[in-house]
Amino acid sequence: MMESKLKKLYNNVVSQAISTSGKFLFAGNVFSDIFVFEINEILNSLDEPQQPKIYPQNAGLISSLEFHNDFLIVGGKGSIYGLKFNESTNELSKDKSWEVFLAEGKSVNYFWLNKADNDLFAGCDNNIIYQVSLEDGRVVRKFEGHKDFIHCLTGSDDQIYSASQDGTLKIWDPRENGFIHEIEPQKKHELKRPEFGGFLGSCAISNDWLICGGGPKLSLWNTKTLEYSPIDFGFPGKIHCSYFIDDNIVIGGTHPSVQIYSINGDLKYDLPVENSPAIYSIVFQTEPQKIMTLAGYSNQLNVLSDFRYVDIILDLYK
């Protein structure tokens, strides 16, 4: 009784993933539960909000989720593992198909999947990034160099970008031993926000541009020259997630709204999220159905079908 009340009161969703087919949405929380939604149902049954299927795990905080082929890859405490997902029956397997132990019992904070090479990069709480081959489950290599835990990962064909609590964004080349470049936004006076700390909570790239932010304000960098573009994004809180959507940038964090900016720093849409003190996970797709979901420290999942306003709010625990 008390436990279910507490779960409802303090549900905190920190990871989400969308299936390859684009039909299912997965969300993992601090209580080690995985919620599975059918996207079609979310968007079409407005009168009767969809009840997610809940699959309890025993992996501690589910800090990262990724979908690959027909597997849901779960990043828990000290390991990553695959759960087979049957799309036709909407059933997530209860047994792990495979499991790789890493991060010395600490959480796996973020995944970046290199689909071309079937490689999964996992940024962990022990300051290390692991490259895991999804072909054979082998840890291909470790990227060591961060002085604090990894918040976020992203990559391009030949480079890996990692944002860390230590306040640095490091750029790695899988062929090189150490990191090849490093930027530290907190050192720039105009980005510094000392009361939030210097950590980098998020990073993202699109062709020519790299964005990163956290304690410091969101900053825009050129991927080739790594030159800073002095554009001011006014997002007032700590930044925990940021993504490029076409030419726009969506930012979420410890602020009662998620904001969408154009690349030149103009605020385009302010999406109020009053049910949570922080947003930790944003996922979106445009095909087959346009959907964006915002999740954070709340029992509610905020759904946008138009990327301009939150139009559906779903309860996770009943």
Binding site: L9, D148, F199, T254, P277
Partner: protein
């Protein structure tokens, strides 16, 4: 003509023959008149008149003739005068005849009158007789009402001298007489028997009285004896007398309370030392009530029959009258009866059961007494509680205030509705609502009609009017356990709050883990809060949205400070504590206002405090509130120690042992205390 004359003369001469005296003549004439035929006389008269007419004519003719001489008419005149005589005679005869006729008519009249009189007499007599016959026909003797012995039995049992079958077999009247005689005989015998018996009875009762007197004289001796043994009884620890006294009153309890008492008592005597059960209330009134109900249960049957009888005897008119008069009587006292009935409906049974549970482990001096009342007319049980304890703090009083402990023992059982669906209609008859009834109970200190109280007394409203003994048996231990747990929890809570009010947090040290941490924040205020204040506070909205708080809960406000930071805590102690833990919510004022709405770290803190449950407290589970406070204070320290270094000038620095100030993408703080052998370290919750 001459013949006639001759005859006439002869006749007359005959009459003239003996005219002796006047009387004789009259007599004769009378005789003659009787003998002669009146009709013939009439003819004679007419012929005489005719003859005289002709004679007169002759006289007139002769007189008119010239030369009239008297002598010419002399003959005729003579004859004519003779005729006159005849006429005279006839006239006299006629007179006689008329007189005679009158006389005879008179005679006839008298005769007719007397005959009629006679006839009337006869008719009257006839009708009198007829009436007599009717009377006879209607005659009913008392013997018809007598139940006689049936015929067969009569012939079998009756004495031969009375029954005389040879005579009575034929004659039904004689038979009946014989039967009646036999009845009389028997009755006489029985009457004598009765007399004999009553004499015997008198004798026996006299004996009884004598014996009773003797026994009565014994009573004071016995009471003296009892008084004398009392010190011995107490010395030996045998409280038999009290037991007997109680047994007496227990018998007066209404059925539901009796069932409850017996079960509770049995449970208390056998399993639960801390439980005592007694019967209290106005014994005399209960006795009176008992008698009244006994009376009212038996006599109505008799009076009903009587009135029926009366009705049968009375004919329609008088019944109507009677009906009318009674209805008038009702109108006069209607108001009074209404009030009386209303009072009766709302009146509880004068006796009530009181069971009290003593506090356990260190709370022996405290006890909770629960009074269970029964409303016979409404068939409802109400329960109220009284707590006796020492040292009640200002705000702590709320914790054990009356009703709060027995409130909501089961989900939604707040005693705000009448548990008996019938009662709603019963109350409605007297223009009362359920709320009025609940108010009435409250103002008269009868408590509330909790569902568990009904069950405890075996009243099941789903299966009406069935007292379920097995249900009570099952229920008694359950309820006692619940109340005991809740009461003890409340007493402990009260102690904690008492010391918190005095900012005395020594109790914290009872939990080993907390005692090993140096808490640098301090409790500066502890005060009670009203329900409205709580729900109107901005930080509590999440609780109210989820219906986690009710007006039955108890609310407190605590203020913890560390340096320039001030943490305001709002605490809700749920009515069903200890099943549900106290809920905390925070508002931190330090470099702006931080709540769980705008700061995930505060929400983490809140979760961490609220998730502390009794099971996690190994050493002293009863100090949950203090443990939560301790956890809150430690969490505040941790929050400020992790957040502090980011601010300049640095007010707070790391004091406690933790590996990472932040961890995972949520940047969670190390609120969790982990035993690390010689010392404690702090780690992230998840």
């Amino acid at each position: 003509m001459s013949d006639k004359k001759k005859r006439k003369i002869s006749e007359v001469s005959e009459i003239l023959k003996a005219p002796k005296t006047y009387e004789e003549i009259i007599e004769n004439e009378e005789k003659e008149s009787r003998q002669r035929d009146g009709q013939k006389d009439l003819c004679l008269y007419q012929s005489t008149c005719k003859k005289m007419g002709t004679m007169f004519d002759q006289i007139y003719e002769s007189k008119r003739k010239e030369g009239y001489k008297k002598a010419d008419t002399e003959d005729i005149q003579q004859e004519c005068s003779m005729f006159f005589v005849l006429l005279k005679k006839l006239n006299r005869l006629e007179k006689y005849r008329t007189a005679e006729g009158r006389n005879s008519l008179q005679k006839e009249k008298v005769r007719v009158d007397s005959n009629r009189l006679h006839l009337q007499n006869l008719l009257y007599e006839a009708s009198h007789l007829r009436r007599e016959i009717e009377h006879c026909k209607l005659f009913k003797s008392q013997d018809e009402d007598i139940d006689l012995v049936p015929e067969d039995e009569f012939y079998k049992t009756a004495l031969q001298t009375i029954s005389r079958p040879e005579k009575t077999k034929e004659d039904s009247h004689a038979k009946r007489l014989a039967q009646l005689q036999w009845e009389l005989h028997q009755r006489k015998e029985l009457a004598s028997l009765c007399k004999e018996m009553s004499i015997q009875k008198e004798k026996v009762s006299k004996e009884n009285l004598e014996k009773k007197n003797r026994l009565n004289s014994l009573a004071p001796c016995l009471t003296n004896l009892l008084k004398a043994t009392k010190p011995l009884q107490t010395a030996l620890g045998m409280e038999m007398e009290a037991e007997w006294e109680m047994q007496k009153t227990v018998k007066l309890l209404p059925r539901p309370l009796f069932m409850f008492f017996v079960n509770m008592k049995a449970f208390g005597d056998s399993c639960e030392r801390a439980l005592t059960v007694t019967v209290e209330g106005d014994e005399e009134e209960a006795k009176q009530m008992e008698e009244e109900t006994f009376e009212s249960e038996t006599p109505p049957a008799v009076s009903q029959i009587e009135s029926d009888k009366e009705d049968d005897e009375d004919n329609g008119k008088s019944r109507k009258k009677k009906h009318h008069s009674t209805s008038k009587l009702v109108v006069v006292t209607k108001e009074q009866i209404f009030e009386k009935k209303k009072l009766k409906l709302l009146k509880p049974h004068p006796l009530f059961v009181k069971f009290s549970i003593q506090g356990s482990r260190g709370n022996r001096s405290s006890a909770i007494a629960i009074h269970v009342h029964f409303f016979p007319s409404l068939n409802i049980i109400s329960a109220t509680s009284k707590v006796s304890t020492e040292n009640i703090g200002v705000t702590a009083g709320d914790i054990i205030s009356t009703e709060k402990i027995i409130l909501g023992l089961y989900p939604d059982d707040f005693g705000q509705n009448s548990p008996n669906p019938n009662s709603k209609f019963q109350l409605k008859e007297f223009d009362l609502t359920e709320e009025d009834f609940i108010d009435y109970l409250k103002t008269n200190n009868f408590g509330k009609p909790f569902l568990w109280a009904q069950k405890l007394c075996g009243i099941d409203f789903i299966n009406q009017n069935t007292y379920k003994e097995d249900m009570i048996e099952k229920f008694v231990p359950e309820i006692v356990k619940k109340i005991k747990i809740k009461f003890n929890a409340r007493i402990n809570l009260m102690k904690q709050i008492c010391s918190l009010e005095n900012k005395n947090i020594d109790l914290l040290t009872t939990e080993k883990d907390f005692s090993r941490v140096r808490i640098s924040s301090s409790l500066v205020q502890w005060s009670s809060l009203s329900y409205d204040d709580f729900i109107n506070h901005p930080t509590s909205s999440r609780f109210t949205e989820m219906n986690l708080v009710t007006s039955h809960d108890i609310f407190y406000r605590a203020v913890i400070t560390k340096g320039s930071a001030k943490l305001e805590c709002l605490i809700c102690i749920p009515y069903n504590y200890p099943s549900d833990n106290p809920l905390w919510t925070f508002c931190l004022s330090w470099n702006g206002v931080h709540t769980s709405k705008n700061n995930p770290a505060l929400k983490d803190m809140e979760y961490w405090t609220n998730s502390l449950c009794i099971e996690q407290l190994s050493q002293s589970p009863e100090t949950i509130l203090c443990a939560q406070l301790a956890r809150t204070m430690i969490s505040l320290d941790i929050f400020l120690e992790t957040e502090g270094p980011l601010h300049t000038p640095t007010e707070f620095t790391q004091d406690k042992t933790f590996l990472n100030a932040f961890s995972t993408r949520t940047q969670s703080r190390p609120f969790k205390l982990v035993d690390n052998g010689s010392n404690v370290i702090f780690k992230q919750i998840f």
